[in-house]
Amino acid sequence: MAEGVDTPTAILAHAAAALREHPFDDISYRTLGDAVGVSERTVYRHFPTRSHLLEGLAGWIEATEFPFPPFVTMGQFQDAARARFHAFDSSPAFAFVCARAATISPTGEAEPTFFTRALVAMLATNHPSLNERDLRRVAAALRYFASAPFWARMRTGFDMSAAEMEDVFDHTVAQVLGDRWRASETEMGASRRDGR
C-alpha cells in the first residue's frame, strides 16, 4: 500500500485489487477492513451503502486506469474515446464497474462529470453557430456513445471487440454530426488556407 494514503482511498485501492479475483458483489466490507487494517464499521462510515462503494470505486478506477485525455477538437475527442474502448477491453472487470456506477441511482446530487462539461465546451467552441437544443442533443449522443455503458452493451449484447465498437461509434458520430461535421471540416480547411 502506498504511504500517506487516506483511509477511503486505501479502501478503494484494495477493492480495485480484489476485483481482479472476485466480482464486485462478492467483495465484503469485512475483507476490505481487514486488508486496510480498519474495522468494518470504519468502512461503513466511509461508504454507507454498496452504491457508495461502487461509485467511489468507479471514480478511483476512472482516475487511475481510464483517464480521458484532454481534447479540444472533434478528432481528438474521437481518438480519446476509441483509445478508451481498448483500455476497457484490457481491463473488463474495471470497465464493468464503471458502467454499473454510471447507471445506478446516484447516492448524492447527480452532477455532470468533467468529461461531459469538456465535451459541451468543445462543441460550443468549434460550432459557435449551433443552437442550444442541437448542441445538447449532439453532446448527449456523443457522450453516451463514448461511455462505459456503450462498451458494456456492445461487449455483452453484441460480442464486439473494441475495434468493432469503434465502427459503431464512428458511424453514429458521423450521423449525429451530419452536415455540421462536414461544414466544420471545410471551415477548418478554409481558416488554414486563410492563415497561409
Binding site: 454510471a102 447507471t103 445506478i104 449522443a141 456513445f145 452493451r153 455483452t156 449525429v176
Partner: protein, 197 residues
C-alpha cells in the same frame, strides 16, 4: 448457490413467472421505489408479497437472483414496448420508452444497471433480434457493416441507460430526453431512409 442466470433465461423467466413469483417481484419493485435497492430485506419483501420468507428464498436463493428477476419483470410489465412494425418506427418507440422511464426513475436505474454486469447480468440488448428482423425485411440490400452499426446504435439508444445518462449528465427534462433520444435514432437511420426495398 445457483448457476448464474443467462440472458436467455432472464427473458424466459420474465415471461413465465408463477403467481407467487409475480407477487414477490412486484413487492420488491414497490419497495425499491420506496427505499432503494440496498435497504430492502427478504423479510420485508416476503411480508409485502404476503408469502413466507422461505418462499422468497426458494424462488430466489440470492439477492442477485432476485434483483435480476425483478429487473426483467420491470422491463416487461412497467416499461413495455409497443411492438414496432418498421425499423423507422423505432425513434417513436424510443421516445415513448424515455417518457415511461422518466415516470419511474428508481426502476429505470435498476433496469439500466442490471444490464451493465456482463454475462452474469440482465440481457443488454433484448430487442436486437427484432431490429435485425425489421431491417432485413425492409432494407435487404444493406451491407453487413452498416447493418450492424445501425442495429447496435438503435439497441443502445432504446434502453434505460439512455434515460439515465441524459438525465444525470445533462439534467434534461422528460421532454428533452425523449426528444434527444428519438432525434439521435432518426440521425442513425438517416442514411438508409431512401433505400427501402
Amino acid at each position: 448457490m445457483t448457476v448464474p442466470a443467462t440472458s436467455d433465461a432472464d427473458a424466459q423467466a420474465a415471461s413465465d413467472v408463477s403467481r407467487t413469483q409475480e407477487a414477490i417481484l412486484a413487492a420488491y419493485a414497490e419497495l425499491i421505489e420506496e427505499l432503494g435497492t440496498d435497504d430492502v430485506s427478504f423479510r420485508l419483501i416476503a411480508r409485502r408479497a404476503g408469502v413466507g420468507e422461505r418462499t422468497v428464498f426458494r424462488n430466489y436463493p440470492t439477492r442477485v437472483d432476485l434483483l435480476l428477476a425483478t429487473a426483467a419483470w420491470i422491463e416487461q410489465r412497467i416499461f413495455p414496448r409497443q411492438e414496432s412494425t418498421s425499423i423507422f418506427d423505432t425513434p417513436l418507440a424510443i421516445r415513448a420508452a424515455m417518457e415511461s422511464y422518466d415516470q419511474r426513475p428508481e426502476l429505470a436505474h435498476v433496469v439500466a444497471e442490471t444490464t451493465m454486469r456482463g454475462i452474469s447480468g440482465a440481457a443488454p440488448s433484448p430487442r436486437r433480434a427484432r431490429l435485425e428482423q425489421m431491417i432485413d425485411a425492409e432494407i435487404p440490400s444493406l451491407g453487413r457493416a452498416e447493418r450492424i452499426a445501425i442495429v447496435a446504435a438503435l439497441s443502445h439508444l432504446d434502453s434505460a441507460a439512455t434515460w439515465v445518462t441524459f438525465h444525470r449528465e445533462f439534467g434534461m427534462s422528460r421532454r428533452d430526453i425523449a426528444d434527444a433520444a428519438a432525434w439521435a435514432a432518426e440521425a442513425v437511420l438517416d442514411p438508409v431512409r431512401s433505400r427501402v426495398g
